[in-house]
C-alpha cells in the first residue's frame, strides 16, 4: 500500500545541501498499523509529506496505493486520509459541520453515505457538543477529534498521521488511540503514524520503524525492538539508546 524505494529529499539551505531523507526504502502492506519513531529533525515529517505528495522527492521513488504522490496528488487524495497534529486541515473560520460539508463535496461522497459516516464518527469521537463551533474556538483535543473525523469521512484506504497525540491530555490520548485501533481493525485501513509518545507505539503499533538522520535505522516488531538492547526493561531506555547511538 505504501512503497518507498531509495527515496530521498534534500533541501538547499544557503549554499549547503541538507539531506532530510536519504535512501529510505520501506514497504507497508494493506491493513498494517505502523508506528514511526525518530528524534526531532530525523526526517519523519519529510517522509510523511512525500507520501502525501506535498513534497516532491529529489531521488528514488514513492508509491502510495499504486500512485506516484507528487504527480497524481489529487487522485491519491481521494484514497488517503491525512492528519497533522501540529496543524489543522480544517477551515479555521468555519464551523466544524461546514468544514465537513465542504469535504463531502470535495471528495464527492454521496449524501446518504456521508450522513451515515458522520453520524458514526460523531458518536465514536463524541463530536456532538461542538459541531457548530468555529474551528478556531475548539480546544486542542476537540480540534484533533474534528481533524480525525475530517480525514475519515471519505473512507480512505490509507490513513497517515503526523504526531496525532501531540499536546493532548491522557484521557484525550486514550480516546484517540482507541479510535485509531478500531479504524484499523474494523475497516482494515492501513495506518502509518509518527510520534514521540512511546505509549502510542506500545498500545497501537504491531510494527515499528525508526528513522535517524534521514535513514531507516530499525524496522520490525515491538518485541524485536526491545531485543536490540538486552537487559533494558523499558521502551524509553531502548529508544534512548537507539537515538543516541545514531548521533555518534
Amino acid at each position: 500500500m505504501i512503497e518507498l524505494d531509495r527515496a530521498g529529499r534534500s533541501f538547499k539551505v544557503k549554499r549547503n545541501v541538507v539531506h532530510a531523507v536519504r535512501d529510505l526504502s520501506l514497504t507497508v502492506t494493506a491493513g498494517e498499523f505502523v508506528g514511526c519513531l525518530g528524534p526531532n529533525g530525523a526526517g519523519k515529517s519529510t517522509t510523511i509529506k512525500m507520501l502525501c505528495g506535498i513534497l516532491t522527492p529529489t531521488s528514488g521513488t514513492v508509491r502510495v496505493a499504486g500512485l506516484d504522490p507528487s504527480r497524481r496528488r489529487t487522485a491519491l487524495a481521494r484514497r488517503l486520509g491525512v492528519v497533522f497534529g501540529q496543524r489543522t486541515t480544517l477551515w479555521w473560520d468555519l464551523p466544524l459541520v461546514d468544514s465537513f460539508a465542504l469535504i463531502r463535496h470535495l471528495y464527492q461522497v454521496d449524501r446518504v453515505t456521508f450522513r451515515a459516516r458522520l453520524a458514526e464518527l460523531t458518536e465514536t469521537l463524541d463530536l456532538g457538543a461542538f459541531l457548530r463551533t468555529p474551528v478556531r474556538q475548539l480546544s486542542l483535543g476537540q480540534r484533533m477529534r474534528g481533524d480525525l473525523a475530517a480525514a475519515l469521512l471519505h473512507a480512505p484506504d490509507v490513513l497517515v498521521l503526523d504526531e496525532p497525540t501531540i499536546g493532548l491530555d491522557v484521557v484525550s490520548k486514550a480516546g484517540i488511540r482507541d479510535f485509531l485501533r478500531r479504524v484499523n481493525a474494523e475497516r482494515g485501513t492501513t495506518v502509518l503514524l509518527t510520534t514521540h509518545d512511546l505509549g502510542d507505539i506500545e498500545r497501537l503499533c504491531r510494527r515499528v520503524v525508526l528513522i535517524g538522520h534521514g535513514r531507516l535505522a530499525f524496522d520490525g516488531s515491538l518485541e524485536e525492538l526491545m531485543a536490540t538492547a538486552p537487559g533494558q526493561s523499558s521502551i524509553e531506555e531502548v529508544v534512548t539508546r537507539l537515538y543516541t547511538a545514531g548521533t555518534q
Binding site: 533541501f11 529533525g41 515529517s45 519529510t46 509529506k49 502525501c52 505528495g53 506535498i54 513534497l55 516532491t56 507528487s70 496528488r73 489529487t74 487522485a75 487524495a77 481521494r78 488517503l80 491525512v82 497533522f84 501540529q86 496543524r87 489543522t88 486541515t89 477551515w91 473560520d93 468555519l94 461546514d98 460539508a101 465542504l102 463535496h105 470535495l106 471528495y107 503526523d162 504526531e163
Partner: protein, 262 residues
C-alpha cells in the same frame, strides 16, 4: 474545477453574509473608493478637452473596460496573493492534501464577495462610455471579447506572481507592482506613455491587449504608434500564450514547494 470553485467561493460568501450590515458597507466602500479613480479622470478633463488625442468619453471607455477586467480578477483570482503567507507558514500543506487543485483552493481562499462594489463601479463607467459614444454592434461585438481577454491576462499575471512566490518568498510586494501596477497602466490610453514602454507592454508583457489594441478597433481609431490593423485582433492569442506560461510556472512552483519543519 468550476464546480469546486463556486462551492468554495459560496462557502466564504455565506460566512461573510453572516454579518449583513458589514457586508453592505464593504460593498458600498468598494464602490466609493473605486469612484475616486474616475474623479481623477474627470478632473483632468476639467482642464483639457483631449488626452493624447482621446476625448473624455473615449478615455472613460478604455478605463471602464480595463477596470471591469481587473476588478473581476481582483474578486475571483487575487486571493492567490496570499500564497506567500501560506508558503512561509507551511499552511500550504493543508491545501495539497485535498483532491482539488491548489490554484482553485487558493483563489477561493477567504473569497471576498464585497469586492463586487468595484466591479459594479467599473461596469457603470463602461456602460456610460458605450452609451455616450453611441457604439453599435458592428464594432461593439469586440467589447465582451476584450473584457474576457483582459480577465485572462490579469488572471495569468496573478498566477505568475503567485508562482514566483515559491522562489522569492520574501517578495510579495515586488509582484504586486506587476498586478496592481498593470491595472494603473491600463487605465489611460497607452498613447500617453513613452514608445519603448508601449513596445514592452505589447510584445513582452501583453498588457496592450487588455483594452488598448481591441479598444482602438471599437473606437475606430488608428494606433498613434502605427501598429498594423491586424494587431487589434491578436488579444485572445496573446492571452492564451500568457495563460499557458502561467500554468506551467504554477505547476513548477508547486513541485518546488519546500514546506516547513515538523
Amino acid at each position: 474545477m468550476v464546480r469546486t470553485y463556486f462551492l468554495l467561493a459560496w462557502t466564504w460568501t455565506r460566512a461573510a453574509a453572516a454579518y449583513p450590515a458589514s457586508f453592505a458597507l464593504m460593498v458600498l466602500l468598494g464602490f466609493v473608493a473605486a469612484a475616486l479613480d474616475v474623479a481623477v479622470v474627470l478632473i483632468i478633463f476639467a482642464n483639457t478637452t483631449a488626452l493624447a488625442g482621446f476625448s473624455r468619453e473615449e478615455v472613460l471607455f478604455l478605463y471602464g473596460a480595463a477596470g471591469l477586467s481587473f476588478t473581476l480578477c481582483d474578486t475571483f483570482v487575487s486571493n492567490i496573493d496570499r500564497v506567500s503567507q501560506h508558503i512561509k507558514a507551511g499552511t500550504l500543506d493543508t491545501f495539497l492534501i485535498r483532491p482539488a487543485g491548489a490554484w482553485v483552493q487558493l483563489t477561493t481562499d477567504r473569497f471576498n464577495p464585497t469586492r463586487a462594489g468595484r466591479v459594479l463601479q467599473a461596469a457603470v463607467v463602461l456602460g456610460y462610455a458605450i452609451a455616450a459614444l453611441g457604439i453599435g454592434w458592428e464594432r461593439g461585438w469586440m467589447i465582451p471579447v476584450m473584457v474576457a481577454t483582459g480577465v485572462v491576462i490579469f488572471a495569468a499575471l496573478w498566477t505568475l506572481a503567485g508562482a514566483v512566490q515559491f522562489v522569492l518568498t520574501d517578495a510579495p510586494e515586488v509582484t504586486s507592482a506587476f498586478t496592481y501596477g498593470s491595472n494603473q497602466l491600463t487605465q489611460y490610453p497607452l498613447a500617453v506613455y513613452a514608445r519603448d514602454l508601449v513596445k514592452g507592454v505589447t510584445y513582452v508583457l501583453p498588457l496592450a491587449f487588455v483594452n488598448w489594441q481591441p479598444g482602438l478597433y471599437v473606437l475606430d481609431r488608428d494606433d498613434p504608434f502605427g501598429t498594423p490593423g491586424a494587431m487589434r485582433f491578436l488579444g485572445p492569442a496573446a492571452a492564451l500564450v500568457l495563460a499557458l506560461l502561467a500554468a506551467l510556472a504554477w505547476r513548477q512552483g508547486i513541485r518546488h514547494y519546500r514546506s516547513t519543519g515538523s
